[in-house]
Amino acid sequence: MFSLNYVRAKSLKHAAELLAQNPEAKLLAGGMTLLPTLKQRLARPSHLVDIAAIGALRAIRPSKGKLSIGAGVRHYEVASSPIVRQAIPALACLAGLIGDPQVRNMGTIGGSLANNDPAADYPAAALALNATIVTDRRRVKAGDYFQGLFATALEEGEIITRVLFPLPKQAAYEKFPHPASGYAMAGVFVAVTARGVRVAVTGAGPGVFRWNAAERALGRSLSPDAVAKLSLPADEMNEDIHASREYRANLVNVMTRRAVAKL
């Protein structure tokens, strides 16, 4: 790791000031993505601004018919929270599938959404549930927030403070994890909402995306059979040493059917 300066932010305002004063500074939340990157010397921030101790980012609470989760809430807290389990059980279940216990004990929802790894789990939930990403500056709908491979609507120095999830009528998440890393080879979040069915796919393409054809089919008939004959264009899927495009396209179909069967 290159040498750097570590600062523990006392408040959101303090964190924002530190970022404004130091253009090469980076936020540090759980560190489960950032520290492996720094250990490999793939980034060289001047400062790490640790936001883990900021109490205002740590709350899980109902908010006007929605579920509000603070950016600094760790994966294990979402997985084990009675409030989340009651409001959106599929979200608690998803959090319990991220990485491994030690990673879940540190990693945060804000860090995961800021990073927007194409194989991360939370982006699928945020997009399918039509979540709102709340920052220290504004509110962004998930549909506008995710902008492809590791890209988001976040501006320089902007801090995610919480995520607002509308409550679905029903929801389920299914993922096919990579056997070594646990990241999704394909993960599908299906949400049945008052305005119809939403299907979000992670791990398979260059960024999280909605599978519109499956949404329409499930809108007509909410059963695994409804999507059995649908296929995604393989040329839009990722291909790497772990899986071909065709294999990933097929996995998305299988994960979608499993998720619907779980509703």
Binding site: L4, Y6, R8, P36, D100, Q102, M106, S181
Partner: protein, 157 residues
């Protein structure tokens, strides 16, 4: 440089370290507690698992500065009054190790697992140990040891 104060296995320590110092390096090189191992560069093997404020974490992927003020438990802190912790004893009884390199991290992960889930099913054990890799045992005896420790109520640490 910054002064880091933390409690390790019940003993308070204070050290001046560079900001980029990893918690595992502080534990091993500054405090001489070499039971916590480093087995990879990718946060995947779990050999470096310790407890920070009661939760199992990978100390190779935490800065010492993040642990400033924290309460840390390492493998050296498990045995009490010369008696092995029930999870350590179960690993011995069930022959749950061969080379032993993964063992300290594995045991710290198991202690964390049993704290959250004192009566884990086989599935719970597989899922709960996903953050720890063992190159030797094939895991079968490790799962046996977890069950023995659970049967003896090892969660009461």
């Amino acid at each position: 440089m910054a002064r880091i104060k933390l409690t390790v296995n019940g003993v308070r320590h204070s050290r001046d370290v560079e900001d980029r110092t990893l918690l595992v390096d502080l534990i091993r090189d500054e405090l001489g507690l070499t039971g916590t191992h480093i087995g990879c560069d990718t946060t995947q093997c779990g050999c470096c698992t310790v407890h920070m404020n009661g939760r199992a974490v990978k100390s190779c992927t935490i800065l010492a500065a993040q642990a400033n003020g924290a309460d840390i438990l390492t493998i050296e802190g498990l045995a009490k009054d010369g008696e092995l912790h029930p999870v350590q004893q179960a690993f011995t009884d069930c022959h749950a190790l061969q080379c032993g390199f993964c063992t300290p991290g594995m045991i710290m992960a198991v202690v964390g697992l049993l704290k959250d889930n004192p009566r884990p099913s086989d599935e719970d054990i597989y899922h709960g140990l996903e953050g720890n890799l063992c190159r030797c045992t094939g895991y079968i005896n490790i799962v046996k040891a977890v069950k023995q420790a659970a049967a003896q109520g090892a969660d009461g640490h």
